[in-house]
Symmetry: C3
Amino acid sequence: MPILEILDYAGVAVFAATGALSASRKQLDIIGHLFLASVTGIGGGTMRDVVLGATPVFWVTNPTYLLVCATVAVILFFTAHLFDSRYRVLVWLDAIGLAAYCVMGAAKGFAATGSAGVALVTGMLTATFGGILRDLLAGEPSVLLRPEVYVTAALIGAGAFVLATMAGLPLAAASTLGVLSAFVVRGGALKYGWTLPTGKALPGRDPDDVM
Amino acid sequence: MPILEILDYAGVAVFAATGALSASRKQLDIIGHLFLASVTGIGGGTMRDVVLGATPVFWVTNPTYLLVCATVAVILFFTAHLFDSRYRVLVWLDAIGLAAYCVMGAAKGFAATGSAGVALVTGMLTATFGGILRDLLAGEPSVLLRPEVYVTAALIGAGAFVLATMAGLPLAAASTLGVLSAFVVRGGALKYGWTLPTGKALPGRDPDDVM
Amino acid sequence: MPILEILDYAGVAVFAATGALSASRKQLDIIGHLFLASVTGIGGGTMRDVVLGATPVFWVTNPTYLLVCATVAVILFFTAHLFDSRYRVLVWLDAIGLAAYCVMGAAKGFAATGSAGVALVTGMLTATFGGILRDLLAGEPSVLLRPEVYVTAALIGAGAFVLATMAGLPLAAASTLGVLSAFVVRGGALKYGWTLPTGKALPGRDPDDVM
């Protein structure tokens, strides 16, 4: 199986797992697990295919991806209570999914357009969109608004892949470099609380006070 | 008019009505009614057409659907205060829309791909996406997180339609079977509080306590 | 540069600015600014292109739009604290973006289909979708639920453009008329608190009390 396909299945499977864990935290039934697992697992890649015009999207062309989501959801429905902290498992799996998907998204965007800028954005969108949907639908605090670097990690992974590809590295090496870069940055942020400076900005006031 | 077209107009009209009722609950103006009615009415089918690559989407090809949404919104803007409980009307109309749209979505996905798995997912997405958008935009508690079966009903309706079609039943019979299955399940859930078991999972703790 | 292209860049730039200001209110880092600026700047136009089937979407075909978003985000990351009220700047820029984008969306929808109804809806969606995404992602109170006219202004701008085009006015005149109509209505609503009547509807009760 080629490296990009492995990354695609890995991204779908681990994002599906984070969706199922989120459903478990909300005490949803098995169908709620299937739903959130599917939306999270295929959401980012669907967004990527839609903006690139690569429709029908990947899971319509190859429904195996749906089977992956469903299998992950069923397994976690029966086992999620065994974890000491589902949220901790969720964010680490999310880090793996982010790393796999930012490279996969960048690769597909770069192949379709040859533009580094488009590849960065499709990498970032593919990696973050599933998790954003999951948090919105489950009513969790959005991972976007947490202080640790998140979108940054996706952007670094996509950037490393694009630079390595433009420098002439073979696909497998560029992909591995991209995945590792993103995972190290996101993992470091989770473990050591890495943050970027936030500028001089004050917190926002209530709209009604300033209008 | 063929059965699938009837289901499509019915799905659009009743989902548009739930959007307008939601706008009424939020005391929005007439344009707010038009907006939420349109987004809810055409949101699910738009999502379906986009992932299947059937673009321009259905309401661009045939703007009559927009006229249906607008008419429903205007009528409800002037009459919504007459209902004793708009929320009760909203969830029952939503049940009808769910039943019509899960079959319509499954039919379009099955016709486009021949895959039962894809048909289940497009049925489920078409039936639920409009309502999810409505609840997100109006800031209502998402119907997804309520305990009664909801996505389940859409999945059962789509499944019944696909099984009946694969068994060789004519389109009208398979559609009727699918619509009735979904409506009975969702209606029973509303009336008798049917739920599925939620496994052994405990509720989620606050992210800041477990990281 | 033709008028529609100017409107497109203007819409992207000012919506990107509102996204960056929203990121600043939430004290996000520079990547958070880039992310929210991009999503807000290109969100509405992406939605427009997707429903019209005009894929790959505009910023994949022409990545200059991404550069505009990134430039705006970086500038505002370093300067947002200089404004006395970022929210006030945000809503006024949002008004300019709304005015530019409702005409741009209506023009593209009208050119693709010749239907005035479709043009109204693509104008409205293009103008409002970026801001809706921004508010959802940043957890701000949605501009949709505020009492001042908002969607209404987009609809009036799109309608003025379509009527003027159907009456035979040249593109530049019709565009200017549409932009001014939308901006005057939205600006008047912001400055003088213009609202539309909300009918006789009472506020919604809690779902658990009425089911």
